[in-house]
Amino acid sequence: MADPITLTIDGKPVSVAAGTLLIDAAKQVSVEVPSFCYYPGLSLQGACRMCLVSIEKMPKLQTACTTVVTNGMVVHTETPEVKNARKSMLEMLLTNHPLDCPVCDKGGECELQDAVFRYGAAETRFLETKIHEDEKKFSNLVYYDRPRCILCYRCIRVCDEGMDVNAYGIGFRAAHSEIIPNRGEHLECEECGMCIDICPVGALTSGTYRYKTRPWELTYTGTICNHCGDGCKTTLSVRNHEVIRANNRDHSGINGEFLCVKGRFGWDFVNNPQRLTLPRIRRNGKQEESSWEEALSLTADKLKSILAAHGPDSVAVVGSNRTTNEENYLLQRFSRTVLGTNNIDHHRTADFSSLVGALTAAKATDRYATMENIVGAKHIFLIGNDPTHQHPLVAYQIRQAVRQHGAQLYVISQGDIKLRRQAARYLQVQLGGEAAVVSALVGASALPNNLIAGGSEAFGAFAESLKSAVDLVILFGDAIRGDEVRTMVRWGLSMPGETRFAPLGDYANSRGAADMGMLPGNLPGYAPVTDESARRKFESAWGQATPISSGLHIKAVAEGIEAGRIKALLVFGSNPARTFGLSKSTLAKLELLFVAELFSTETAECADVVVPATSFAEKSGTFTNTFGQVQALKKTMRKAGTKSDLEILLALARLLGHKWSYQSADDVLREIIALVPGYAIALPNLLIGRAVATRPEGTPPPLEKPDLIFSSRDNLFGSGTLSRYSWALNSVDEARKPYGHEF
């Protein structure tokens, strides 16, 4: 690295790395230089002239945001000349500004308001009529108020450089310049709202938040997004037990300021009036509202008689991939001890289990990739996934890696995905081609030519370019599963440097569901249920025996219901009727169908007992993102009438004669930390809002059937049940574009 540069700012000496911008160097000695258009991480604009400073031996004031420091530079930021320049710049910015702060949506958190307070002048020399433009509705989620805009270009740059959507431009010129959207009067874009978040003033406002409140009337709770597997941190702004906004307020964590449309707007399912708030019991073929006591005791009684008559394996459990680790952990304990069956499964969207097995066998459990690894990566290999739709934060971080330090991206995919724009190499394959390419890379099998666009020549060029990759980060979707994961790991570990791996699964806690052993053959932490010593560990903690052979996977459960062997099905936070195509007539064969859910899904409609569950905003616990990073969920508000799965399970266990001593999700988490391999995480790190990486180790049983692993292929605006009940996500036209559509 080059020698540091030493300079003086307001009499204070400072040493910074070569190439540092003056505005950033000033921060290091606590000198604040006001700025609007400068935004760390985005290209330089030099548009607002707020950051003017005086530099000795330079004739005019200079913009600190575009000046690179040099040795011996002597800078003054508080001279009368500089102060005057700031005043003048603000006076100019205010010439056409309405100064409607008392009713402006940004009042109280506006950078212009703050700057005028600190540096501005009270009087103006501009006495002409202000140019007025009416507010424009760019989309249901994004509004633009021209008079408030200070033309800092932040929205344009974040959309171009951060999102790679390029939806904005500048229309017209001089005093009439304004931000224009890409489709005439409207936006057609990813609707992420990054532009709203980054706007320093109240020019861009959010369709769901605008004019509802003042920011100081809100309670802010930092928690985790409930939609996809990336696990963005988000701050929910709540007033009167209603969420009205989400943004990652302190820009901390794995996502910084990023949120996609689901994280920023899609939380509104929480407030949806269709939320279930009373249990329902089926009587004479019709569901009727009931009390919690009645619903739970009826469930317990039916379970008792079914267990007594047909044995534990006549019952099966379907868990959720969007509820907490604590709930998943308790659910499998409930299944294995209270019910006594390993018939527990969930919708698996990536093969976490096989990766754990493969890395453990290769003694390489230090090679799980984290979200941070993507940002720092020099070489990224993406196999069979479209992160723009399925993992918006991953897509964002890949773009950052490519843009900020020229990371090389290699892509194998069936469709022409948007990230191809960033890809150094792209190989298009037919269905099944991803696994074939991986196996050809390792030399395990010959290349089936017909699966690859461009045949062996294209493959050869692709393989050749991969040869120069070091420290690869390999991201793989549902196309690589079972033995294919092992093959991929074998190839990856043969590459130079430290290759890392991450499966890309849908939904907020898919990884946690697998980690917590919500699988018919796995205990929590990936030991097979047939492993006696692993079983012993849990049995001695629980004081109870667990079944010794593998249970039925979800497809076998479906057959079991059809054949009359499965009599009771307990469903928590999932919709197997839709996900696995269980028909009404199949579900009607059950003696007991119990569903804990937020909404009346297709499965819930068929249930004998439906109980209203709490949403992510109403409970505490942890989620594990698809990279195995654990983060804390914080209770933001209450929803009358609902109970968390944790409370439901504790009550059911009690009714079935089991004394569990957990008082809260924290108690369960402590047990997870103590017992689950890979989860020995430091609680303080979790509590201060970090994403704590796990390194599971185990020898899980092989994948029973490849088609147990499949992604929902939701588009950017979808996340199954939750997005179906979000007004915001359904309000934009873009939501109706198919999976794979590029903006």
Partner: protein, 162 residues
Amino acid sequence: MLSDALKQKFDAVIARYPVKRSAIVPLLMFAQDEAGHVTEEAIQEIAQRVGVRPIEVIEDIGYYSMLHRRPIGRYNLQVCTNISCMLRGGGAIFEHCSKKLGIGHKQTTPDGTFSLEEVECLGACCGAPAMQVNYDYYENLTPETIDALIDGLRKKNPASET
């Protein structure tokens, strides 16, 4: 549909520039000459040919006042009211045009024959007050010369032209 002649022109113009995007403004002018305004199709075609996003082409149209995204009159009267013309009665010339045509700044007559615009310096100060009608300049204007000009243009009814 853009005509084949226009497309050939596009090819020729783009070939003249070492950096393709430099051709955007001339391409827009040719496209506008053909259709009377810049059509959505032309925006897409130009963006694609020079390798930029459509929004960047749209930015250029907004920046240059002689480019139009919506149909305007057959004859676009651009009256200069900048300093030299102002001193020589440009304001009165604009008013006269406005009254005679019954339209204001950036408006078009109902029959689609004339549009009127107040513009900045046309670079014809020596002949102030000046006006530009499509690509032609008219200088040292008086209400009388304007009447003659407008009446003459009206007679050249575009509908009767072949």
